[in-house]
Symmetry: D3
Subunit: 145 residues, 6 copies
């Protein structure tokens, strides 16, 4: 599990001891990881939740637009995976309940000379605004910082 | 890890003992799982590889079009996640190296009354046709059988 | 006119005696048909109108998520046909006035062994929010139940 | 049935006496109608078949680029309806068998002062390259000439 | 600089004397040009600003739907260029500050026999709703009148 | 004309003395500019032409994948602007004749602290594979290096 995307996916899916272990082990290798939750019918809340968390936890430098730009497109790519073709949530009468993770570090542990990258994972459920009328969905966005 | 999508993702990412363990444990719960590899610049080869494996291993019944239809759209949804917005591989001068998994079973172990579903995961790398010039990508498609 | 899609299109376009005749004849062959109207600049109202009518009239079982899932994607496919590429109504300063039909039954009368399918047709006008500044549009979505 | 889109759809779906009757009646109202068939896994063949027929039958003037431009976008809009979101045929391992119609005339018989329009309908089946593994699909494109 | 698209782009990018010179010179060749500004997170405001200006300045005839139709699709095409794939502004937590130009005339000065065309350019910045967190973007839509 | 996108657009549209003047003046401000031509019905040739020129002229470092990644997405964004919604050239029976420019430097001359960016412009004609049956199109992609 040396690559940044796999770390972001595993960290999103894990809980309890495994979750902690993934974090500790990745941090020892020089990665930074954050995790949060967001549920909404409003697309902009997904973007805002991930952006805010990544800035607050220092994964991107809020003072540099290029960091914001890199993160934005990683979120957008992950969001496209969540929507699978037709972008939209509430306007298409569907809602999501998502865990998100953001990981910052090398693309993988053997390619540190290629600089820092960001991986964003959105994982959870998408479906009708009725409890249980939903199925799983995942999206992964990667970008160079 | 009771849901079909999570099983499909974990089975795609795991190897060695963990891979076997995921399969055995899921089969005991009534799921069927397959795993394969496909690398190509031709989109149709991705579709063909997953369809052929799923039919050969009996996850769908080749004699029923509705099963084919369910699988096709699950693959297409996963493929959209891989491409993140603009569908295409070789025509956009990029290539993929993918592991695929297909899981058949209930949406999750508590909702068996909702019938059988299919989950398709494509996980691997996407990038330029130059070794190492690539990053990770994942797509998940779910459909009712 | 033995196929489910053709029945849904013809039922959407017909009125008066022909409309009744299509319904009676299709019901004798084992199809269920409903028809309604919806006009809006809000995409979610199109989805809601079709979903509500199909549940109320018993074309799908409201208690089974898989039925909802099948219907949702049939509506979405029909809606893509209506929008022809760029999804959106009011946000793109356009509005629709639509007749919708939903038909449940075999894909066609000779393939009953392939189980039940849903066909959703949206037919009407799309255009500027100015009376008469509009042209026709149609979308058809099919899915296995 | 006074509108150009409805005429194009009905003419595509009809056969035998009804087909002739639609044509004769529409021609008396000042419309021009053509009908043809095309089946392919190659998207460009769909475009070529409709363009060639419309030029040969004089629905557009081959010497005027603006007529070609109008027709091209009407075909493209109809093709998007056929594909429902993700453009592609053989590259996505699917094929179509289509009837096409092109109608030239006023948007509807009461709005002749708004000049000439084109309606293109593609109607038929889309599915796997296996006989019978397919379902119906329709697309309608309208454009001003 | 004999073509309509180039005139629309140059007029959007120019200011001061050059801007005036482009306008005067193009008008002598029989083109009509307008220019305006619009900034918003709401997509419909972009459409409305361009439509209103083009009608008010007489580039299209507000009484003819076909003129509206031609303009609408030119704006939509330009807007797609601005968004580069995933349509949306505020719902994707981004905003635009745009100059727009609309030019009416022949496709280029040597092809007057091909009738009148419209070119719409949107040029400006797209980015986060934070001052300076943005980069440039351009879109050009052309349509026959 | 202090911003990178405007420089890339102007350099694409200019010829003769103005072209030289734009280049010289931009180089004095610390930008690097290249310009080339590509005409094709094959999408991959557009990508290849721009990638090859940018590497050969040293705008990106061929040894660093992150530079390739930045350029690739800038080309893709520009290509989306060219196609305006439905990606494809020959498969949709259309062809392009394009000038391309790539500019490397600060986003604009006042924001040098935000590091280096790439701007890719594709400008030319898109249309039927018939001489003169075409109209102008432009696309601009920006990315941080």
């Amino acid at each position: 599990m040396e690559s940044i995307g796999k770390k972001a996916i595993m960290y999103a899916l894990a809980d309890g001891d495994l979750e902690k272990q993934i974090k500790v082990s990745a941090e020892e290798e020089g990665f930074k990881l954050i995790k949060g939750k967001v549920g909404s019918m409003n697309t902009e809340k997904i973007f805002a939740a991930v952006e805010t968390a990544a800035q607050r936890e220092g994964l991107i430098c809020g003072d540099r637009y290029r960091d914001n730009h890199a993160l934005y497109h990683a979120i957008l790519d992950a969001f496209v995976g969540i929507c699978r073709g037709q972008l939209g949530l509430g306007d298409m009468l569907r809602t999501v309940g998502l865990i998100f993770t953001v990981v910052k570090g090398p693309r993988n542990v053997e390619s540190r000379e290629d600089g820092e990258w960001l991986a964003v994972v959105l994982y959870g459920t998408i479906g009708a605004p009725v409890k249980g009328y939903e199925h799983e969905t995942i999206g992964l966005g990667l970008n160079h910082l």
